[in-house]
């Protein structure tokens, strides 16, 4: 049972480059989330999805885009990378509802220089 899988684990980007962070889950969860964690801080919600074809903005969506074409996959796209996007990115999923805690992936550490 793989759970939530994120790729890549590490990436260095130059300013202005673009990339896609991949996230897939095998638990048939409807709800999926992208968070970023800056050093020494808590996580901040970037985007979330309540099912295939449905996405919405979180607290810090600027500079990012998402899509949800299948239940399993929820990629996060960074366009025109900036140093402020240097962070650790976590993907998470859940069944939905308050009783269901989030299951997190292992994170992608992104550095923009």
């Amino acid at each position: 049972n793989a759970g939530v899988t994120q790729t890549p684990k590490f990436r260095i980007l130059k300013i202005g480059q673009s990339m896609t962070l991949q996230c897939t889950q095998d638990m048939n969860h409807n709800y999926m989330y992208w968070y970023r964690q800056d050093p020494g801080m808590g996580l901040k919600l970037i985007y979330y999805s309540v099912g295939a074809g449905i996405t919405d903005k979180g607290e810090v969506p600027n500079g990012y885009n998402v899509s949800r074409s299948t239940t399993e996959d929820f990629p996060l796209r960074l366009e025109l990378a900036a140093p402020s996007q240097t962070s650790v990115y976590f993907c998470a999923s859940s069944y939905g509802g308050p009783r269901s805690p989030l299951h997190f992936g292992n994170g992608t550490r992104l550095t923009v220089t």
């Binding site: 989330y33 020494g40 309540v50 976590f90 939905g96 009783r99 805690p101 989030l102």
Partner: protein, 113 residues
């Protein structure tokens, strides 16, 4: 705007001692979560607290929620080295559906032999 504050942010303890981490939040919610993060790792769910005066216990950890005071506590009893980690509380700021968690800054706990 929902804000979540934890204290202390850093805590160094001796094995065998007891201590409490506090989580205060600024707007009404009865959905609060505790997560643990080991260095360089992902987040692991510890407790889900969904009502006033809810109390959950797992091993040497006990979490409680007072929705009227907007306060949750994570109590550590007779600490052991394996509990060294960063602990986050998170409050669900959404009305229904997807969990729109707002995280505290985290409490970095170090337990010394």
């Amino acid at each position: 705007e929902l804000k979540v504050e934890q204290n202390p942010l850093f805590l160094s303890m001796q094995e065998g001692k007891n201590y409490t981490i506090y989580c205060n939040y600024s707007t009404t919610s009865d959905r609060l979560y505790w997560y643990r993060q080991d260095p360089g790792k992902s987040l692991e769910s510890l407790f889900v607290l969904l009502s006033n005066r809810a109390v959950k216990q797992e091993g040497r950890l006990m979490a409680s929620l007072d929705t009227k005071a907007r306060l949750s506590t994570l109590h550590i009893t007779a600490a052991v080295h394996d509990l060294s980690a960063t602990y986050f509380c998170a409050v669900d700021g959404g009305l229904q559906g997807a969990q729109k968690l707002v995280f505290g800054q985290g409490t970095r706990l170090t337990i010394n032999p």
